[in-house]
Amino acid sequence: MTKPTILLVDDEERILRSLRMLFFADYNVLMTTDAHEATRILREERVHVIVSDQRMPIMQGSELLSIARETSPSTMRILLTGYSDMEASIASVNEGEVFRYLLKPWNAADVKEVVAQAAAIARATFATQQSPRVAVIETAKHKLRILVMDNDQATARAIEEILQHRAEVIWAQDEEHAKEILAHQNVSLVVADLNMGGKSVSYILKTVKQFNPQTQIIVLTSFDDTSHLIELINQAQIIRYLPKPIRNNILARNLEFVIERFHALGGSPEMQQRQSVEPVKDEQERLLSNKFMGMLNRLRSRPGVEQS
């Protein structure tokens, strides 16, 4: 088996030289300080993993990764950044749809592990593309079920209005109610405010994504703290991070996109892998998450077996 290809992009050459040491033994390493050059490589070569810096002179990393998403959708995207303001983090979710958001300075072993995981996933994606199978979109037959976690009912109403009969919208107005629903029903899409009744409910999202990677999570919040957002990327693979209040047409556009994504992942475990998550790191959250996961395991059989 040939080595997978990794593309490193950073405007600081020393970073490239340094990172290369971690990978040259097991990967075919390509690197450049020039984002345009990177886009050319993405067009011309099969790249399994791209690792990009965020702050670069010609182009922001999130922008480069969103180009990568277009030109080489199977390539796994990782951002490695020294500092990130809120805007950059949000762009990396909404535009870059990054697999991992890593911070400099990094831990060599961790980065190696993340890249190895990403490379394996990319391999699987490339392989399925070569031998296209008949996509079985079973999920399309079922009506979508959307859980809206928000103290305020307005969001649920807005979504109901947008999707009309196409989806069953369930409104959970508090943490317990949300867990109750998730424990008993398969949910295709979760739209959540991070804060319910003054408490963070991130752990619910992280657990849900762990339990079933096909579930798509949209965060809709006025909450703004980069460190939490980075965790939500790595540990919940949220697919959209949208600020509240949100205009209906923007919400509608994003919902359509995410529903499509949900269906695309439907028949393919390889595709679902692409949104696999890191374990929960925060001590407190891990306890909560484990407890909730226990509840899910007890009350629900594993995903795949559709229940209502």
């Binding site: 340094s18 040491m21 971690l22 040259f24 702050r55 020294g82």
Partner: protein
Amino acid sequence: MRRESYVEIDITSLIKPFECISPDLSLHRVAELFSNANYSNVLSLPIVENGIPVGVISRYSFIDVYLKNYSRELNGRRPIRFFMNPLPILVAHDQPLAEAAQHVTKHMKFPLTEDFIITENGRYAGIGFVVDLLKAMELQMRENAGELNQAYTRLKSSQLALAHSEKMASLGQMVAGIAHEINTPLGYVQNNVSVGKEMFTQVEVMLASYDALIDSLLDDQVGEEQISAQMQQVTELRSNSGTREMMGEMQGLLGDTLYGVAQISELVLNLKDFSRMDAVSTETVNLHDCIESALNIGRNVLKDRIEIIRDFGELPTITCSPSQLNQVFLNLFTNAAQATEGNGKLTIRTWYENGSVHISIADNGKGISPEHVSRIFDPFFTTKPVGEGTGLGLAISHQIIQKHGGDIRVESHPGTGTCFYIHLPAIATTAQVAEMLPLAPDFVQSEETL
């Protein structure tokens, strides 16, 4: 009309308590009234029956009637009832001013011929002049606007003081920049060290197997088999291309590492110099040091794009708050960099003249359009997209320079560049130095009165 306080103007204050007339009054009597000096100001006479206003007769329409041929003779004794306008404009004394004004302007006729009638519970209370009403409206609007303006100014300046006291202005950006500047070298330094550590382990293993082989070769007791096994092991280790390549690279990596560490320490030093966030004290310094410090800190915005040209004169030391002046310079450098696309030049000139220290900072960026020039020192004025500029940079700079007893001015030519001039007194008076800090106590006060 002068008003002492911001009490809302009401209709009652507009009442002119002219005596009303009865509808049975004859035209002759009305003519007399109109020519009476007491009524010289009124446009019309209110006509009231049993306390209720029933009509109005204006000077204008009265004259119309009265001057017709023989009208005086024919109608002189007839009551005014037949000639009046039975639909006077009525306004209640407790009606809000704006509403009344709307009602009056809607029903009045041009040219203005009638006054309006003010009632109290439906009964006649007096007449009001339309002009007064409009004046009152204007006054109130102006007062409201004035109040609004004042509140706005106070709000803006208290926000400004707040932003400054928390060193928020462009500091958010700075923090991002600095974090990035530190974490980038820290990233490769840390990684290189851990790569080195791993390599060291491998080298250790290699050395150990060499040692073992040599020991065996020197030892007569060791048999051929063991030696060839050990040779095998050494050969394997030697052929591990990874380790070889790593060793080859290590020289370079160690160089990078040293470079990175030096860069981090320099940055930290600069930062310390730059802000002295804890003690914002006044010191006696040479401004060139402030400029250099700000240039260093701003390195990541100036990058390699902007060529810095220093044309420094001889300057005496001055007593100032270096951290505040650093901030001024940094703001100016940042602005210059942001106004320059691609490569540019930044010329910094300093000179001493008439007891003042002068600094000019000229860029060859895109310049400031004439309609913006007067506003750039305003708090929150920015032409930059959201997230890029708060519009506080120059406002704060201006405030800092003023507190130092100096002045900052701008000259800009769109398309050619912008030059900021600063001058600071070389010897600040004790009072000025004392006043320099804390910044803007008056803002804090006005915040309380808000």
